[in-house]
């Protein structure tokens, strides 16, 4: 096996005066400064509120939504799998019996406390019915009062998916 000799720098007189390194460093930063000053459009910063991000992918975990069945009713069967998987305990479900013959059970209440939620996506993975998804692409959630951050079933059902299918894939 050959031995690779790594050259050690910093012992020569030129290196020990620091000055050449100092000046080359300052030259580099000045180059950046000049290039950016003469053409600010080359700076990658996007001016956020006016310029919205365009790089949100399909797998981005945004605001939650509850999916529908093909007939428009709620897909969720209130099995509590998501609430059980949730590490921050921010999903509150109240189940009720369903009498329209489509299914046996549905949520009477389905609240998510967005201030508690850590957007981990475990609820989406836990759901056996593809009833909860985080594919709305909404990343900015604004409210003035604390209680407004607890969103209920109606609001969750209103959210539209930004990517892929609108309705639940589970049959």
């Amino acid at each position: 096996m050959g031995v690779k000799i790594v050259p050690r720098y910093g012992k020569s007189f030129k290196d020990r005066t620091y000055l050449s390194a100092v000046f080359s460093g300052m030259k580099l930063t000045l180059k950046h400064f000049r290039a950016n000053l003469s053409d600010t459009s080359s700076i990658p910063t996007s001016e956020y509120p006016e310029v919205q991000p365009t790089d949100i992918t399909e797998r981005y975990r945004g605001l939650h939504r509850l999916t529908h069945r093909d007939d428009g009713s709620v897909r969720c069967v209130a099995c509590f799998m998501c609430a059980t998987a949730c590490p921050s305990n921010c999903i509150f479900i109240e189940a009720e019996e369903r009498f329209d013959g489509i299914d046996e059970k549905q949520p009477a209440r389905f609240d998510i406390d967005l201030l508690e939620c850590i957007f981990c996506g475990y609820c989406v993975e836990a759901c056996p019915c593809d009833a909860i998804r985080m594919d709305t692409g909404i990343f900015s959630i604004i409210a003035k009062e604390r209680h407004e951050f607890v969103i209920n079933k109606e609001e969750l059902l209103k959210n539209k998916g930004a990517f892929g299918e609108e309705n639940s894939l589970a049959q």
Binding site: V22, T29, H32, N36, T40, S41, I43, P44, E47
Partner: protein, 420 residues
């Protein structure tokens, strides 16, 4: 006129210290951003007018003003706790007092010095107050009653003490060269020409002393790369850990004034002070017509360049189109007024008093420009270099800069005595 001419340098001192703080804060943040390929703070505005983010330091200052005056419970010596930031602020403020902003001017047989404190021992005054600032830091560290604060204060004081020596010795070699400790004669000497074409600036005569002085000035102001005193990765925030609101703001402003004062003294000693290269006071007074005509040509060119830059770069988001338009109208009106005034003065004929005053204004502008450039170097260096480790700082101070400064004194003394 008499009162105004006496007050003028004092007004200029407060402008150069207090009024430049927001400018320097803005410059620091924007330059840092541009060096790191970012935009920096540009959102703050007054009714949609952003002025490139210069409103941001005003907002910062307002925030600090309205913060709660909080005194930690464990602080026993409240008097010293409050005294410390005032010392830092005051001493850096006072060290600016002896800087000459323009050449002496004679009006009605009375010679005015454009220095806030026209004393002969200029350099000594600056050194005295530059060294006094560290007392504020020591008292802050001690009265904060906090191990991080005391560590920061210890680092700051040992650093300032070790660099003060090299700084003083670099100054001694400058004093040997100039043969005076008064700052105005030093600047007057720098208006001369070396071999008939090089301006006899200190940096040309004594490049080594200039280098040592600039490095030690960085250390004296506790700025990067010598800011181990507030090394946030090791000792929280050093000596101002326990300070908040306006007491912190005083430290903050003191740092920027110290930076500005260091720039001013560097410019005065090494970069010709208020002198415009190749144009000393007598030359300008003799050819004031030519100076006016060249100003009438140069300033529109610069304004045009600025307008072109603004059109290209100040329209990055949609809501700012109007701002550029108004700024261009403002600049064009100012330019027309300026050209008209100068043309009128040339047409009527310029009196001796007007000549003297316009030369003074030009020199003040030249000094301000040089100080801002030096401040830019301070900012630029801060965002280029990583922080020195504490032992590296001491090694550089005692084992490199001190022998270099001593050698420099010996060499310059030999040259001066031999009369080359």
């Amino acid at each position: 006129m008499h009162t105004f001419m006496i007050l003028l340098p004092i007004i200029l001192t407060s402008l150069f210290t207090l009024a430049t703080i927001p400018l320097l804060v803005w410059m620091e943040r924007r330059v840092a951003a541009l060096i790191q390929n970012r935009l920096g703070p540009n959102r703050c505005n007054i009714k949609g007018i952003r002025l490139g983010g210069i409103v941001q330091p005003v907002a910062d200052m307002l925030k600090l003003l309205f913060k709660e005056e909080f005194y930690p419970k464990h602080i026993k010596q409240k008097f010293y706790y409050i005294l410390a930031p005032s010392i830092v602020f005051g001493s850096s403020f006072l060290s600016f007092m002896v800087i000459p902003y323009a050449d002496d001017i004679t009006i009605d047989d009375y010679t005015y010095h454009i220095q806030a404190l026209p004393i002969e021992l200029g350099v000594l005054w600056v050194i005295a107050f530059a060294g006094l600032g560290v007392y504020g830091i020591i008292i802050a560290g001690w009265s904060s009653h906090n191990k991080y604060s005391i560590l920061g204060a210890l680092r700051a004081s040992s650093q300032v003490i070790s660099y003060e020596i090299a700084m003083g010795l670099a100054l001694v070699s400058m004093l040997i060269t100039y043969g005076t400790i008064s700052l105005n004669p030093i600047v007057q000497q720098q208006g001369e020409l070396l071999f008939g074409f090089i301006p006899a600036w200190g940096v040309v005569l004594q490049p080594l002393a200039a280098l040592i002085f600039i490095v030690t000035a960085f250390a004296e102001t506790n700025r990067a790369p010598f800011d181990a005193a507030e090394g946030e990765s090791e000792i929280v925030a050093g000596y101002h850990t326990e300070y908040s609101a306006m007491k912190f703001a005083l430290f903050f402003m003191g740092e920027y004034i110290a930076m500005s004062a260091a720039s001013a003294i560097i410019v005065t000693l090494f970069f010709g002070g208020y002198q415009i290269p190749w144009l000393d006071t007598a030359v300008m007074q003799g050819n004031i017509d030519l100076v006016f005509i060249s100003l009438m040509l140069i300033i529109p060119l610069f304004s045009l360049g600025f307008i072109r830059w603004m059109k290209k770069n100040n329209s990055s988001s949609l809501s700012r189109q109007n701002e550029t338009k108004y700024a261009i109208i403002f600049i064009v009106i100012g330019l027309i007024a300026f050209e008209g005034l100068l043309f009128y003065m040339l047409d009527v004929g310029i009196s001796a008093l007007q000549t003297d005053l316009s030369v003074m204004l030009l020199q003040i502008a030249s000094f301000a420009f040089k100080v801002m450039m030096m401040n830019f170097v301070f900012v630029w260096a801060r965002w280029t270099f990583p922080r020195f480790r504490y032992d590296q700082t001491q090694h550089l101070g005692w084992r490199i800069l001190l022998p270099l400064a001593l050698t420099n004194i010996v060499i310059s003394a030999i040259i001066v005595v031999a009369g080359v």
